[in-house]
Amino acid sequence: MSKGSQEEYDYLYKIVLIGDSGVGKSNLLSRFTRNEFSLETKSTIGVEFATRTIQTEGKTIKAQVWDTAGQERYRAITSAYYRGAVGALLVYDIAKQATYKSVERWLTELRENADRNIEIMLVGNKSDLRHLREVSTDEAKEFSEKHKLTFIETSALDSSNVELAFQNILTQIYHLMSRPSHGPIISDEPPAPGVQIDPSEPSSTQGGQKSGCGMCN
């Protein structure tokens, strides 16, 4: 384990992973950050955290990803982590209709607790379970167009589209932040407990490294 994440980066973006319990959020995170997958993943309690740095359009972007517990009882704890996040992966399980039905409730959650301009990507995970599919790709696509979300289907198990999903949302955030007309993604409220990063200003967590100034052009 490295001591001190001293690598250089141009931007630091905070992303949250949300969605019902058991849809594979933790495995999406471990696949993206460590290229690992486990069928024996324990339930996430509260929040878990991981980082990865990627390159996009010649820029180095460091993603701080917060994986949240899916159960409702933890919402009081986890929703505090939405604030300051510039992106959210809203995950459902393509083989479980009920987890797709919850998507609207999760969107409401985000609207109530997250920053106004948060970039949201709808992610249909477990695409390897073709024979058990309960949510059609077209239906989910239509839903995301209606709600102005981006959409992708992934499989943390066989890796398909996981890299692409994170790459896409981080690139979109980069584009959004680089647009001169774009207003700052800053919540009016004071920072919630546990929120470490405001992308629009240098964070104390960066230890004097190059600032992740999301608003720079």
């Binding site: 994440s5 319990s21 024996e40 324990k42 996430t44 509260g46 955290f49 991981a50």
Partner: protein, 495 residues
């Protein structure tokens, strides 16, 4: 943290190793190069003998406590002996035997927990389990000295087991004596009964036990139809609860094969569902599934010769039914004491986190300042420690050992646990201080405890005990309101 596996001849480290070992007779392993320091044995994680003692030394030493043990302890550890060998030599044998004698004295005398002085840690008798695991860990050929040490260990084991036997076979168990004895670990053979008595599930009076058990087991059986009614007849909240439980049961303790058996999974599912619908103010909360597993494991071990390789299919169904009912009631007793950990917004956990922070500010201000400087908030890294009582951070067999102590404490799971968490955090102080925010989080999400053995738990507990001795008064205003809840709930449940 140093990951060096190499042996060191540093006398201090060597002495620490022998100190921390507490159980005599086993030399520090010479060859620490094996990359897999945990071995699968009958599918269960068994710590092997290839330990990184240096790392333990380094992290413990960060708060200076253990070095003072070395100089102030009454036993014969000699930190100035620069010739202490890394294998079982006459030198090490002599001092280890002396340690044994010290311990024998303590074991045969009526000792209570720990005294406040730092040297007292060394007077903790080795638990029977750590002794037996040490016996198995002999590294190399058995010479005469090892044999005699093993005889000593066997004697110690025997004495301790006899004490439990004497205590538990009487017509009335003295609860205070059981707590005092159980604090340092309970022999496998007496654990199930001890836990049931310590939790107040089994009456201390022997005459009442059979009747009581029969009644409680029947009561549980009678509640099962609530589980078996078809889904359509359940209300929506209950259906949702069951669904959540069904998502979590297969991923409960995945490293322990027992919990992968369909019969055990069904048993766990029923326990959790019945508990949830009977406690609607809390309901099922993820993490409660973890808390049920030690009971199932320990109570099942009453009926099988070796729980490590038990074949569930061969266990008679009435025995499994007893395990299920007993586990249900004991889980209920445990949760009654910590119910506000799981109610809306989890105030019990928030309070414990505040206590932990307050405690750390006193114990290790610079660590606290570093965490604050990095904006690493207690709720972010220690929430799970409270919610799952460190069960996600500590290997399962050691969790069982931890519960011996927690159950022997007055408010082990709510009050003493905070001191244990403080000791746990301070243990990694040096590692944490070298890291920035992301790495602190990643480190603390998976602290290097995979190779821990009982002595690490015992060190942790003695440090926690020491902290409590020093800071209990200052923390008293933070003492949980649980004691009231506890009493109320216990009263309700004793009906």
């Amino acid at each position: 943290m140093s990951n060096s596996h190499s042996d060191t001849n540093s006398p201090v480290k060597e002495a620490f190793w022998r100190f921390s070992r507490k159980s005599p007779g086993i030399a520090k392993p010479v060859n620490n190069t094996h990359p897999h320091r945990f071995e699968k044995f009958n599918g269960n994680m068994i710590p092997n003998r290839k330990k990184d003692y240096d790392s333990i030394y380094n992290s413990n030493n960060s708060h200076g406590q253990f070095s003072s043990h070395l100089t102030t302890s009454g036993d014969s550890i000699n930190i100035h002996n620069s010739n202490i060998a890394t294998t079982t030599t006459t030198t090490t044998t002599t001092s280890m035997t002396a340690t044994t004698n010290t311990t024998v004295t303590n074991i045969t005398g009526e000792t209570t927990h720990l005294s406040i002085s730092t040297s007292s840690t060394t007077s903790l008798p080795p638990s029977p389990n750590s002794l037996s695991s040490s016996l198995n860990s002999s590294n190399g050929g058995i010479d005469t000295s090892q044999t005699s040490q093993q005889q000593n260990i066997a004697q110690l084991n025997n004495n301790r087991t006899k004490k439990f036997e004497k205590l538990l076979t009487g017509s009335n168990v003295d609860l205070e004596s059981l707590k005092s004895l159980g604090w340092r670990g309970i022999p496998d053979k007496y654990r199930a009964m001890s836990w049931k008595i310590l939790l107040g599930y089994l009456p201390t009076n022997e005459e009442r036990r059979d009747e009581h058990l029969e009644r409680k087991r029947k009561e549980y059986r009678d509640s099962l139809p609530q589980y078996y009614i078809c889904d359509e007849k359940k209300n929506e909240a209950d259906r949702k609860t069951l669904k959540q439980i069904q998502v979590d049961v297969p991923r409960t303790n995945p490293g322990v094969p027992l919990f992968q058996h369909p019969k055990i999974q069904m048993l766990l599912e029923r326990i959790l569902y019945i508990w949830s619908i009977r406690h609607p103010s809390t309901g099922y909360v993820q993490g409660i599934n973890d808390l049920a597993t030690p009971f199932i494991w320990v109570f099942l071990s009453e009926y099988v010769e070796d729980i490590m390789c038990c074949q569930v299919d061969k266990i008679e169904s009435n025995m499994l039914a007893n395990v299920e009912a007993d586990s249900y009631w004991c889980l209920t007793k445990l949760l009654d004491g910590i119910q506000d950990h799981y109610t809306f917004a989890q105030p019990g956990i928030q309070r414990m986190l505040a206590q932990l922070k307050g405690l750390l500010e006193k114990i290790n201000h610079s660590l606290c300042a570093h965490l604050a400087d990095q904006d690493a908030q207690f709720i972010a890294f220690a929430f799970r420690w409270m919610n799952c009582l460190l069960m996600r951070e500590i290997p399962f067999p050691l969790v069982i050992r931890m519960w011996d102590t927690y159950l022997s404490e007055k408010e082990g799971f709510s009050v003493f646990h905070v001191y244990v968490c403080a000791a746990f955090l301070v243990l990694w102080s040096d590692d944490i201080k070298q890291r920035d925010f992301p790495d602190i989080m990643i480190f603390l999400q998976k602290p290097p405890t995979q190779n821990w053995e009982e002595r690490e738990i015992e060190s942790l507990f003695s440090t926690a005990f020491y902290y409590r001795s020093l800071y209990e008064e200052a923390q008293s205003h933070l003492k949980s309101n649980n004691s009231n809840n506890n009493n109320n709930n216990n009263n309700n449940n004793n009906n």
